[in-house]
Symmetry: C2
Subunit: 202 residues, 2 copies
DNA sequence: TAGATTGTTAATCGATTAACAATC
DNA sequence: TAGATTGTTAATCGATTAACAATC
């Protein structure tokens, strides 16, 4: 697991602890909660502009703040969802997004029978309007929720629209130029990883 | 990226190639398509019970077959979705799942106002019925699509029901005993990774 | 044959862990 | 003070890449 992935876990863990009123947390506590070694935790956290305290550990408040900052969770990001299938529609309405600073601005599809239909408070827009919309609305991130075979083509349109961040939910691998960031969150691929480990030990 | 994650990428790439009628693929071709080095590709594929051919590369048909087998994509897996929010409902109806051998058997929630409502061809079932259902239906995998704070508690019920594979979509980290396999596919965490890399170079 | 491409060994690189002095 | 816990250095481990002989 990469350090950044662990940062997202530290953030959620420390947020949960803060809600329970915990004020200090040691590297060992975090390690136990997340299945890591305390050494890994200390290494990771030592790269932050934030220090722990001997004998007490890390203050949860400060740790949450710095992790939020490092992960961009203290900023609001303007997001579109591309693909108005079941998954795309669910994501457009997903409550966890606004709560974490991801502000959904619209949902797009290229199927004419879907364009204009309602998805919660949104109307599905035509893919052809994406470039203009992305510019006008200053879109930061596009979520790709289209079938495998359409993913690269859709990505190309998004990239040409000037959007610099892509979250790819399709099973396909996406090729993007330097300066455009792509992160995969491919649910079916994760299921295949899972069944692999179930078939052949961990 | 772990070798298994790459295997899922090889599988999709080689399936796409086969659909286009490509019969042979070299390690360099695969590397170019997936943004890897040919050396990594050869290392990965050399562990499979399948050999390439000098001067020609790997036969797409054979490669697809062995990758399917290794990833468990040649088997049918019996799956329940836990959590009937927007995301859970979308997953229960997601077409990519049955296409890849994941057979959704039911959807569960613990909110009484959701229990009994329709989600496509399913009726939402009560969480309390999960243990009996999982046993009777021989459920292999549960997909956790509940809010962060409920994730561990729901996981505990699933594990107690004898299900050995968990796909966790919640932002929380899940603790499971030996022998129970957990894979994360946390969309919001992936968005945080993305915004991190957008804020601080790649 | 000559050339392309595999499979594998060895080298490099990076990430994880262990160990421990510094510190409160 | 004594003890707990950090931050950091060094050691280990594993994953990626380079190189090249084997092969068709």
């Amino acid at each position: 697991m990469s350090a950044v992935k662990r940062m997202t876990k530290y953030l959620t863990a420390v947020q949960a602890m803060r809600e329970e009123g915990v004020e200090w947390v040691s590297s060992q506590d975090l390690a136990d909660a997340l299945g890591l070694t305390s050494s890994t935790v200390r290494q990771d956290l030592s790269h932050l502009e934030f220090s722990g305290t001997s004998k007490r550990g890390y203050q949860t408040r400060g740790l949450e703040d710095i992790l939020s900052k490092v992960l961009g969770a203290d900023t609001t990001w303007r997001v579109v969802v591309v693909g108005a299938g079941n998954l795309g529609k669910a994501l457009a309405l997903h409550e966890e997004f606004p709560r974490r600073g991801f502000n959904i601005r619209g949902i797009f599809d290229n199927a004419s029978e879907k364009v204009g239909t309602d998805v919660g408070r949104f109307k599905v827009r035509d893919m052809r309007d994406l470039p203009a919309f992305a510019g006008k609305e200053k879109i930061d991130v596009a979520v790709i929720a289209v079938p495998t075979h359409a993913a690269q083509q859709v990505a190309d349109i998004i990239i040409a629209s000037g959007v610099k961040g892509l979250l790819n939910l399709a099973l396909a691998h996406i090729i993007a130029p330097q300066g455009v960031h792509v992160v995969d969150s491919r649910i079916v691929a994760s299921l295949l990883e899972l069944t692999h480990s179930m078939k052949f030990g961990s």
